[in-house]
Amino acid sequence: MKYSYYPGCTLKNKAQDLDHYARISAEALGFELEEISEWQCCGGVYPLGTDEIATKLSSVRALNDAKEKGQDLVTLCSACHHVIKRVNDDMKNVDDIRTRANNYMALDEPYAGETKVLHYLEVLRDVIGFDELKKKVTNPLKGKKIGAYYGCLLLRPGKLMAFDDPENPKIMEDFIRALGAEPVIYPYRNECCGGYISLKEEDMSKEMCRKIEKSASGFGADMLITACPLCMYNLNKNNGDNLPVYYFTELLAEALGLKEEVEEQ
């Protein structure tokens, strides 16, 4: 199975781990991520203004690229996923945005939201299946108590992201279970880490991350996983190193027995 893959800016740089482990795990699980050629940055945040067009075009390009290949589009980074999924929804359902975006793009065939946007976790859940994943785990992460940190962008707005219950998600917990570890459910897993605000309002972000971390460790987590490089950065920067934070793909690779190979190489 082959998917178009949109890595996003940070995965080519600070978050290479997130990308790298995802790719080798995919291979082991029998699907392929074909990187979209010449993708452009999604912009990091979804432009809420209904009159914004230019800021949505990079997403449309990626989406159209996948459409032309007849593939579903897979993303990893929560922010990219959020932006691309919502732009896709606009292209499908908002006449005005679709018309104007297509006018800009001047494609051979207008793009109208045909591409299906999937998060990597959705591929694991809906295509591979967590039961199937469990069978492929060679190095179960026994004894690890892992708190899933969803953050805000993956889940909300629930109706558009259609990823999981926005107030009580379970996809990452099921993922953790499939890897052989124990998920720790804590109420702050869908609260914001502060996001881009950490640039100028460090204290606010610090306060938020502290709450997340306290809640998670209070419920017994000894590590957190995330799908977002910015969450990772904020959490790492602000938690007194008590609770290590990993990309979910890193644990996936570890459970599939691929991590050592990499390290050896």
Partner: protein
């Protein structure tokens, strides 16, 4: 200079929000992680738009404290979703005056070796044009 009425209309148009649907339940303010940092609270944004007091909104520091975390958007029972109004007000600032909350010159001081690109990209999108 646009009138307050124009600017209120503009906010409604950019956001696609009808503030009259608000029933003043305060669930947005109850959900907001940045509540304490805000001078104009999320639920108050609605009445400021209804009352066409946009000048106060564009001068509010709340614009720069909102995380766009969509908690209010998710939970608003009336389809008002104040987060969208806040973003629209922010758009008015960055579009109208070329005013920004982030100057490229500030950047070197604000970053560290681990700062992900995503952070800069996102901040630029929200804070300036």
């Amino acid at each position: 200079m646009k009138t307050e009425k124009n600017r209120a209309e503009m906010i409604k148009e950019i956001s696609g929000v009808n503030p009259l649907k608000c029933m003043k339940c305060g669930k947005c303010s109850a959900s907001c992680p940045s509540y304490n940092e805000m001078d104009i609270k999320p639920h108050q944004f609605v009445s400021y738009v209804i009352n066409e007091d946009i000048e106060s909104l564009v001068n509010s520091k709340s614009l720069w404290k909102c995380l766009s975390c969509f908690a209010c958007v998710e939970r608003c029972p009336r389809d008002v979703k104040p987060g969208k109004l806040i973003d629209a007000a922010r758009q008015i600032v960055v579009r109208e005056r070329g005013n920004t909350y982030l100057d490229p010159d500030e950047i070197p001081e604000l970053i560290d070796p681990d700062t992900p690109q995503q952070l800069l990209v996102s901040a630029f999108r929200r804070y300036r044009r």
